[in-house]
Amino acid sequence: MTVYLVRRLLQALLVVFAMSVIVFVGVYAIGDPVEILISPDADQIERERAVQSLGLDLPLWHQYLVFLGNALQGDLGRSFVFNEPALKLILQRMPATLELAFGAMFISIVVGLPLGLYAGLRPNSPVSKTIMAGSILGFSLPTFWVGLMLIMVFAVQLGWLPSTGRGETATFLGVQWSFLTLNGLSHMAMPAINLALFKISLVIRLTRAGVRETMLMDYVKFARAKGLSPARVTFVHVFKNILIPVVTVVGLELGSTIAFSVVTESVFAWPGMGKLIIDSINVLDRPVIVAYLMIIVLMFITINLIVDLTYSLLDPRVRLEGKGA
């Protein structure tokens, strides 16, 4: 356990460090933020003043060292654009993204697990085949296109759901959440579904594959030979085994959901971190980009950690010592 934690920690440090270097160099290579930020009629003097005030006149390595020094004290820099601490900006936006991602996760499990279970238990029935064909669709549809179609149909044509934005929020634990209000939920529905689409397919497939594989196992047959009811065999013996891959992948996917919310957020104008990062990339707001990626990486690592811990809870055979070697 300790070994595992230590290993993860080292890995996290390495990744975060490598990433910050890459992003620094990358943003430097993409362009000069001052060019973008500065008013077009600003003259050279004004330009130089801006460069200096943002610390962009130092050599890159020097800028990096300054950043690193501050980062070690928990200061990830100030946004060029907003002149606010990058971290604060991101944390402000994080709840919106998190609730979207978790919403999507929730939908994908609630929808995907039963469908996958059914398809796995009756692999040859027409319904299962339909489910599987449908899941291929879910795999194949580009997120942005589906998002647009959803808006077209449900907001514009039918008018059932609000098209974009986050809607009303309620405060809980000092953070604004929209899932606590009806209006907020109705705003969340489409983006969450949009984001969930791919995951639903994934969960269906994983579940089905897991069920099919598990059903072939001797221990399932043994469970039946013990005279257990089919329900118990399915929901205890089979289910617990398929939960392992499902939880793992779904957990790991949470990270990519958060990352992929970039697309959904920009389609649905959802004010989360994803939209922030796109906007920041557009204006080369380096501190925000770096901070965002660092946070994303840390989140990934944390999620992985939690997933692995869950994994070891679900599967007693796994001892964390051996993992990640």
């Binding site: 390495l14 992003v23 669709l137 580009p142 296109w145 697309v263 990339i281």
Partner: protein, 307 residues
């Protein structure tokens, strides 16, 4: 000592045809009708993509052949150049049908090209990691971890922002995003296969390492690789579409399907659905057909579902 002949007689081949692993694979693949359908559709798509310059009514990449006065024509209108725009035109007066054919070409090139390069790079590194073990293994796998801990779309975004537009750059970005999947897959399989007795047998026969690696180990690591590759082709096409949609990706004058969709995106709500809709359908069919094939491949090549 008559066992030789007896044995031979007993096992006399029923069919004369030798059942090669490939033939067996083909026949198993054919078992799923929908997968065969997917394969046929994909073949047609690939055909269209390859022969687009010869069958498309217009070269949508040649600005001289476009006329903005033909822009946003409805499907079925006859344009200034005298031929019918069966699927309408986009804002530049680009024939959508031709645009889709050429777009397929780009999308498939990007998808297949990136998957192929990523596969070669990833598979070599994965094989190396598995066979060499030790330091080499951990260095390679750390890089893989690093790579996989970045959200792919963000990596691609950053890389493209850095490299600029262009088909080649998209391919590079996708390769950088994807190689790690192959490396991980191959390493995983190779680690298992390496412990198989036939590898030991080959070592015992004092075959050169290179031969063992490429003639014995690699072919047996291919099945999962192929599965990953098909899935990644589909993924790459979708990712390229998304990138183009986000404004990075291929040049605007040589639109891929994704860019066609992105271009038509704004017109979607204004009733000029065809600009975005038809490329969307083409993209959908392409990805679905690849996934159908990949799906069946996964079933056929998965040793665990086999008895």
């Amino acid at each position: 000592m008559s066992d030789a002949t007896l044995n031979g007689a007993a096992a006399a081949p029923r069919k004369d045809r030798v059942e090669t692993p490939f033939r067996r694979f083909v026949s198993e693949f054919m078992e799923s009708r929908i997968a065969v359908l997917g394969l046929i559709v994909f073949t047609i798509i690939a055909f269209i993509a390859i022969f687009a310059p010869w069958i498309a009514p217009q070269n949508p990449y040649d600005l001289a052949q476009l006329d903005i006065m033909d822009g946003r024509m409805e499907p079925g209108t006859v344009g200034g150049a005298g031929f019918t725009f069966w699927l309408g035109t986009d804002d530049q007066g680009r024939d959508m049908l031709s645009g889709i054919m050429y777009g397929l070409r780009i999308s498939l090139t990007v998808g297949a090209g990136s998957a192929l390069i990523a596969c070669i790079v990833g598979a070599s590194l994965g094989l190396l990691a598995a066979y060499a073990g030790g330091r080499t293994d951990s260095v390679i796998m750390r890089v893989v971890d690093l790579q996989l801990s970045f959200p792919s779309i963000l990596v691609a975004l950053m890389i493209l922002a850095f490299l600029g537009k262009g088909i080649m750059n998209v391919v590079i970005a996708l390769v950088i995003v994807e190689w790690a999947y192959y490396a991980r897959t191959v390493r995983g399989t190779a680690l298992v296969e390496r412990r198989r007795e036939y590898i030991e047998a080959a070592q015992c026969l004092a075959l050169p390492t290179r031969r063992i690696l490429f003639r014995h180990l690699l072919p047996n690591c291919l099945p999962p690789l192929i599965v990953v590759a098909t899935m990644q082709v589909a993924r790459a096409i979708a990712l390229e579409a998304t990138l183009s949609f986000l404004g990075l990706g291929v040049p605007i004058t040589e639109p891929s399907l994704g860019l066609l969709i992105a271009n038509g995106y704004e017109y979607m709500l204004s009733g000029k659905y065809w600009i975005s809709f038809y490329p969307g359908i083409a993209l959908l069919i392409t990805i679905v057909s690849i996934n159908l094939v990949g799906d069946q491949l996964r079933d056929v090549l998965n040793p665990r579902l086999k008895k």
